[in-house]
Structures are given as C-alpha cells and as structure tokens.
C-alpha cells in the first residue's frame, strides 16, 4: 500500500522535470538530427513531405566538398583551436596561481581578494562584453595604457592579422613561402592554418580568461584547503623548495580538481558564443568565427538550417571526443 503511493508520488515529483527535458531537450535533438539530413530553409514545417531529403550532404559539405561551406567551417575550427590552446592553459595557470597566493597562511583579508577575483564570473556575459568592447576600443583603456609606454595599440576588432603571421613578419617573413601558400588541406592553405589567433581574437581571449579564472580559482582553493597540513610540513622537512613542492606534492594532491578544471575549460571553450555574438560576429575577415557561432549564423542568417544543425552535431562530437581523450590521458598517467 505504502510503496504504491510512494511510487506514484515519486513519478509525480519527477514528472515536470522529465516532461520538460523530454520535450525541450531530447525531442529537439532528434528533430535536429532529421533536419541535418534535409535542405529545410525555414519555411513551414521541416517534417512536411515537400522538404528535400539530402542524406549526408550537409555533413560532407563541411569535410569533403570544395567550397565556401567547408572553407568557413575549417576556418572556424582553426580559430577555435587557437582559442582553446590559449584560453585553457592561461585560465588554468592563472586560477591555480591566484589560488596558491590566496591560500598562503600568513595573508589576511583573503575574503576580499577571493570576492574580487570571483566577481567577473557571476556577471552577464553580454554586459561584460560591452565593457570590453570599450576597454579594447580604438580610443579605449588598453590602447591608452599601451600609449603611455609608447606603444601604438592596434585597432583590435578590425585587425585580422594572425599572431604567428605577425611574429613571422618581425623576422622578415612577410610573404608566405610558396610551399605553404600553394598547398592546401581541407580547403585552407597551410599558411592559413598556421596563422595563429587574430589580434581581434586575442582581445576576446583576454576577456574570457579574465571572466572564467575566478570560478576555477575557487575550485583550486577548495582543493588546496583539503590538503592535510602534515603533508606540506613533511615536504618542508625533506628540504623541498617551493617549485619542487608545487610540482611533486601540491599538484599531484589536487589532480582530480586539475582534471575537472581542464575538462570544464575544454568543454566551455569549444562553446564560445555570447562574446563572439556581441563583440565581433565572426569578423574581421572571419577570424573570430567559431563553430558555435557559424552554426547559429548558417541557420538563422543564411537559412540553411540543415547545414547549421550538421555543424552543431559535429561540434557536439568534438566536445565529447575531447572529454574522452582527456579522461583517457589522465588515466594513463596515473597508473
């Protein structure tokens, strides 16, 4: 008797959550899978009989067919790879560094500093992007700072030059070597692949590192505080210096948190969207285009919903694979 009423209550209690997640998450994913196999242009229902079924065309147009869709997609992948390569290490190192300093036992007023570092993380991504548009504006704060030390700051959001290209330029390589310029892979020349993040992308990278480090610092801080004091004292007695202690004692002890921070970092950096939407819309010269933004733009601006959905699923796959690879790598090291 009681178990039956309990069973009923259980189902009633979870029903709203199950219903909403089912209708607005599971069902739409299935719908999008179907749409990614069609040429639906947004008119009427995508499930009418008149909608052209194109099979895997939307997917192959991203990988094997020469043309603008593949070029844009590969450009967005390139941009996001550079973005991940800079943001993930930078935010992890900054977060760990700040946590180590805040965790020093002799310092007072830690609460204030912890709050200050964490505050940007809780604010609206759109509002913060507006602030950073001003900070990196032509006549903005960063260029004023650079001007004060005699550097002529770039026009950040109009500058599509890749960082590696700029560095090569300083050692005299202004024109791409023919070997790189004349051979292309997946729709982009080797020269384009090795461009590095554009100057505009760097401004977005700075913004993101600035906003996310606070959250990760809190996670590291919680982990550091969980390390028993004896461990640290023992390593002091053994004569380990600061660097050795960090490398051989502290980091191994906070490995689970390190894994969490790296994983969350990888997952979120492949999803960068709000900042791109507000600050650059993929410009200049498509150097801040990312798969997430490209998928949105393809569907809602170019009305190619099928290809947009296909890009979403490829992005989904990339994120899943990244997470699995990382999990596997950290497991290997442990054993």
């Amino acid at each position: 008797m009681r178990t039956r009423s309990e069973s009923l209550a259980g189902w009633l209690f979870v029903a709203p959550v199950v219903l909403i997640l089912g209708v607005f998450l599971l069902l739409p994913i299935l719908m999008a899978l179907w749409v990614s196999l069609t040429g639906w242009n947004g008119q009427g229902s995508p499930f009418r009989s008149g909608v052209p079924f194109v099979g895997a065309d939307n997917y192959t147009s991203l990988f094997t067919e020469d043309g603008l869709p593949r070029q844009d997609f590969m450009t967005s992948i390139r941009n996001n790879v550079y973005y991940v390569l800079l943001v993930v290490p930078a935010q992890t190192a900054l977060a760990l560094g700040l946590a180590l300093v805040v965790n020093q036992r002799m310092l007072k007023r830690k609460g204030f500093f912890r709050t200050a570092f964490y505050f940007p993380s809780v604010t609206s991504s759109v509002a913060i992007s507006v602030v950073f548009l001003f900070v990196f504006a032509n006549s903005g704060a960063v260029n004023a700072l650079l001007g004060a030390v005699g550097i002529d700051g770039p026009v950040w959001f109009d500058d599509s030059r890749g960082l590696i290209h700029v560095l090569l330029g300083t050692v005299g390589v202004d024109n791409p070597p023919g070997a790189l310029a004349n051979h292309s892979v997946l729709g982009l020349t080797w020269w384009d692949w090795v461009s590095g993040p554009s100057v505009a992308m760097c401004a977005i990278i700075v913004l993101v590192v600035w906003t996310t480090s606070g959250t990760f610092m809190l996670m590291f801080l919680a982990a550091l505080q969980a390390i028993p004091q004896q461990v640290e004292e023992a390593s002091l007695i053994d004569g380990a210096n600061r660097w050795q202690r960090l490398r051989f004692v502290t980091i191994p002890m906070i490995r689970p948190t390190m894994f969490l921070v790296l994983t969350l970092g990888l997952i979120s950096t492949w999803q960068v969207f709000d900042q791109i939407y507000v600050m650059s819309q993929g410009n200049p010269a498509k150097t801040t285009l990312t798969p997430a933004f490209l998928s949105y733009r393809t569907a809602f601006k170019d009305f190619e919903y099928g290809r947009g959905a296909a890009i979403s699923f490829v992005l989904f796959l990339i994120i899943v694979v990244m997470t699995l690879v990382q999990r596997w790598m950290l497991r290997e090291r442990r054993s």
């Binding site: 009423s5 309990e6 069973s7 009923l8 209550a9 209690f13 959550v17 199950v18 909403i20 607005f24 998450l25 069902l27 739409p28 994913i29 719908m31 749409v35 995508p46 700040l98 805040v102 020093q104 002799m106 310092l107 204030f112 500093f113 940007p120 604010t123 609206s124 759109v126 509002a127 507006v130 602030v131 548009l133 001003f134 900070v135 504006a137 006549s139 903005g140 704060a141 004023a144 606070g214 809190l218 996670m219 919680a222 982990a223 689970p256 969490l260 999803q271 969207f273 939407y277 507000v278 819309q281 997430a292 998928s295 949105y296 569907a299 947009g308 959905a309 699923f313 992005l315 989904f316």
Partner: protein, 280 residues
C-alpha cells in the same frame, strides 16, 4: 629568527600580487561606472580616468527615454522571477524524489539527468528553435520561459543535498500519517533552507544573465530581455557614433541586480562553484 625576514618578503610579494590582480579584476568595472557618467568626447579622450571630467547623467536619461531599456527591464524581471520560482520548485521536487522515494525507473531518470548536464548548451540552439517553431509557441513569453524552467544541474544539487540529511524527521511525520507531498512541503523543505537558497541564487543569476536561449526563442523586440536588448544596442540600433557612455551605463544597470545579490549572498555562490568541484 632566521625565518623572519623571509616571511616578511613573502608577505609583501603575496600582497603585491593580490593587489595587482584585484586591480586587474575590478578596474574594468570602475572604468565602466566612470565612463557611463562622462560625456562622449570625455570618454573618448580619457578612457582610463576613474573620475568623469564633468559628471553627466545624459547617458542615463537617454537610456530610459531614448531606448527600450524600461521594456527590457520589465521583461527580464518577469522572466527571471518565473524561471527562478519554477526551477526552485521543480528541481527540489525532483531532487527529493530521486534521493528519497523508491519508485521504478528512478535510477534511469537520474542517469538521464546526469547525461543532460553533460550536453553542451550551445549545440541545442537550433534544436530548441525547431521544437518551439513546431509547437507554435516561437516568439512568446512561453518560449522564453518554458524550455528552461527546469534545470538538470539544480536537480542534481538538490538530490545530493537531500541524501546528506538524515531521514528520521520525515519518517516520523509519515508515521503520523502525513502524505508524501504534505511531508515534503511542511517537514522537508523547511530543513532544506541552505540548499534552497543556493539554488534560488544560482537560478536567479542564470536566468537574469541568460542570452543564447532568447536568440532562438523570440525575435519580436517587445519580448527582448536585458541581455538581448543590450546585444541589440551594441550591434548598432543606436544610429550614429560609438555612444560608449550610454552602452556602458545600460550594461552597468543590467549588472547591478546580480552584483547586489552576489555581495549579500557571497558564500552561497562560493558553495555553488565548489560543489561542482567536489562532484567531479
């Protein structure tokens, strides 16, 4: 004795690093406030200065009279209140059932909830649009609210919480003959206050700042929330000039509610962030 000078140096270096980074993390907000109170030429000439040349409230007047800001504010308040109330109610209900009630399918549902947390939100944009379109609720308050009125991460937090408190009180209530919902409402929820506050705050912050969902849920400017309206301002609906004081002011006003709540309920934010860390 020998350690004393080294300790002093360490303390000095420690504080220097902390103060430097506190400036890096907070000064952009100072710049934002200061420049929203400047005239446009002043903001362009002295972007770094924390003190407006002449203090000017012109940008705030224009925010309220020359833009749809009041409308966005109203929409944001409405949507955020409904979303927060809904998430707290539905998430805690489901969290409780998954932690305490025995029913067939419980494990499967919990596994589903965990799987949903792992789905990256940004790949759901087109799918969400498709279902809203198909159900005929695209471009409505329903579209802004209903799809995100439950939150899998909130369910997870509440389940973990209910599992961490002893069940003796509710068992006593049940023996006294109270029904499951009655027990939940008058015995369990009052005990769950800390977790409910955490969930309320995280839901408020998440709903207030929500942006991508509004992109695929509505296109009618009458339904814009603050982040959406702000994004629209930036993309050039203002007409001529950069108008940074106005944009910074609007962004500032949109930040204030979450900032105030953050300062008051800081430890709950911290708990929300570190809870994630412990689960990983």
């Amino acid at each position: 004795m020998r350690r004393q000078p080294r300790g002093l140096v360490n303390t000095f270096v420690g504080y220097s690093i902390l103060i430097f980074f506190a400036l890096v993390f907070l000064y952009p907000f100072v710049i934002q406030l200061a420049n929203s109170l400047k005239t446009e030429p002043d903001a362009a000439a002295n972007p770094l200065s924390p003190v407006p040349g002449p203090v000017s409230f012109a940008s705030f007047e224009r925010i309220f009279e020359g833009t749809d800001f009041p409308l966005w504010l109203g929409n944001s308040l409405l949507v955020t209140l409904v979303l927060t109330a809904g998430r707290v109610f539905f998430d805690s209900l489901a969290g409780y059932a998954l932690a305490r009630l025995r029913f067939a399918g419980r494990r499967a549902i919990f596994a589903g909830v965990v799987a949903v947390i792992a789905v990256p939100g940004v790949v759901l944009l087109i799918p969400k649009f498709l279902v809203l379109n198909q159900l005929g609720i695209y471009d409505s308050y329903t579209a802004l609210i209903l799809p995100i009125i439950v939150d899998a991460a909130g369910v997870f937090i509440m389940k973990q919480f209910f599992e961490s408190v002893p069940a003796s009180m509710e068992e006593a209530a049940r023996i006294d003959g109270a029904g499951v919902f009655r027990t939940y409402w008058s015995v369990v929820l009052p005990m769950a206050r800390p977790a409910l506050i955490t969930l309320t705050i995280l839901s408020f912050q998440g709903s207030w700042n929500e942006f991508p969902h509004t992109l695929v849920a509505v296109q009618n400017p009458d339904l814009f929330t603050l982040p959406r309206g702000l994004a629209d301002l930036v993309s050039g609906s203002l007409g001529t000039g950069t108008q940074y004081p106005l944009k910074l002011g609007a962004a500032l006003l949109a930040t204030i509610p979450v900032a105030v709540i953050f300062v008051i309920f800081q430890r709950y934010f911290v708990r929300g962030a570190t809870e994630g860390a412990e689960k990983g």
